[in-house]
Amino acid sequence: MRFSNLAELVALCGQEGKPIYEVMIDEHVHETGATRATVLQQMTESFDVMMKSVERGLTEDIRSFSGLTGGDAKRVYEYAQKGKTLLGKQATEAVAMALSTSEVNAAMGLVVATPTAGSCGILPGVLSSLKESLGATEEQLVLGMFTAAAVGFVVANNASISGAGGGCQAEVGSATAMAAAAAVELAGGSPEQAIQAAGLALKNVLGLVCDPVAGLVEIPCIIRNGFGSVLALAGADMALAGVRSVIPPDEVILAMYNIGKQMPVELRETALGGLADTPTGRKLEKQIYGDDTKEA
């Protein structure tokens, strides 16, 4: 890759007069020797799986692995169809579709990790809502996935995309930043605006801990995906309006990395702290596994 941070990525886009997704596709072609058509084809396959998981959660009765979650996506979607929502129909639908994918994931269904499975709802939620709000075609949405990938690539290599490594800011946070950047480019914004959106959105999830109840990727994961989709859209809207992150996006990523390192292990995917360690969290844990939750 000819870039290792977002500033270099934007500079590259400027030199070549290309959006982020085109640079990312070029890099892939260069790096792997695959043809452009193959690369697009491979991304389209992921897109199809994503859209199927969105669809499944809205049409089937999904029950999670533990039986604790499922059905919220449908609930929110049906609510949005009634027309009167506070966020507006499209943002509410984005929530529904993000929840939907995450519910399918929790039920051990087929999903695409974007960048992780715990955070797999946000990108599909945002992309499906852009289908409506922008009238974006499938081809365009697939291109947007490369924008998301470019941001995720920088975050993954400079910070972390793992809850065990950096808390939920590294999963839901990274996914939110990725989706925000994709939304900006799909709406016709510049590469600079795209990374500003990523920086703005990421700032709002800094410090988010990973505290899954009973160690399941359900509570709070699914709901956080719903919120992440709205946050991504809000970040994109702010950046498109010209708002800039005073702390440069690369430095926000650095802050995320450092915060992750400062996080105690209880709050990094060990189900020892936070929501997992609430009276109800513990009760549910016992309910699912019985009493033998102690370590050997």
């Binding site: 999903v111 290599n157 793992s162 060990t270 370590e295």
Partner: protein, 224 residues
């Protein structure tokens, strides 16, 4: 900057059975690499989990995924959800428990001990996030392998000329070596060679390497 994540599909992907890319998909990949290095389905698998893996393996489906990997299932194989039953039915005996706490280990670490009859095998793997993995030990040899490139893993006797013989075969098949690592237990004893290539090595190349006298076995790990 580390470069464990190389391109778009390390970020968008894998296509996988939920619920966790690190704890399910990554775990399945580590299990599958162990299986392919072992070369056949083991009779017994003893699995030790560390850090977050030890705390959340049931909720995150890590147990199911590791066993699915040992059965040679890919991350998107729907049979993953039934792997424990399938293992039992096919005579693979699995035990799983937290290992002794080790502060040096990454939070998502697993040790897999496999055996079949007299044959024993041991691997230490880490799931670093988003489904990406690193193998850190193979049969006690320290290595660093990601499984992102086609890789040949070759246990061999530490003798003069073995490495050259192997690379000659690869160059004859016009395979470009992108990474190579040799680790050994001591002078003249056992050694382990890891060779990653840009292209998939054909069966003939693998067979030719296998025929070298000093070579004990050749395992080919394909990206998955």
């Amino acid at each position: 900057m580390s470069s464990s994540f190389r391109h778009s599909f390390d970020i968008i992907g894998p296509i996988m059975i939920g619920p966790s890319s690190s704890h399910t998909a990554g775990a399945a990949r580590i299990g599958r690499i162990a299986r392919n290095l072992f070369g056949e389905q083991p009779d017994v698998a003893e699995i030790l989990l560390y850090g977050s893996f030890a705390k959340t393996y049931r909720g995150h489906g890590t147990d199911v995924a590791l066993v699915a990997g040992l059965l040679n299932f890919a991350t998107h194989d729907p049979r993953i959800t039934k792997s424990l039953q399938i293992a039992q039915d096919s005579g693979l005996q699995v035990s799983m428990k937290p290992g002794p706490p080790n502060a040096d280990y990454h939070p998502n670490t697993v040790r897999i001990l496999l055996s079949k009859g007299e044959r024993k095998f041991d691997l230490l793997g880490v799931s670093i996030g988003g489904g990406a993995v690193e193998i850190l030990e193979i049969d006690g040899f320290k290595v660093k392998m990601t499984g992102q490139y086609p890789t040949l893993v070759i246990p061999h006797a530490d003798r003069f000329g073995v490495i050259a013989a192997v690379t000659t075969i690869l160059s004859k098949h016009q395979l470009n070596i992108s990474f190579m690592e040799v680790s050994r237990r001591g002078r003249g004893s056992e050694a382990l060679m890891l060779i990653s290539t840009d292209e998939q090595p054909p069966e003939e190349a693998v067979a030719e390497i296998h025929q070298l006298e000093a070579v004990k076995r050749v395992a080919r790990i394909d990206p998955s």
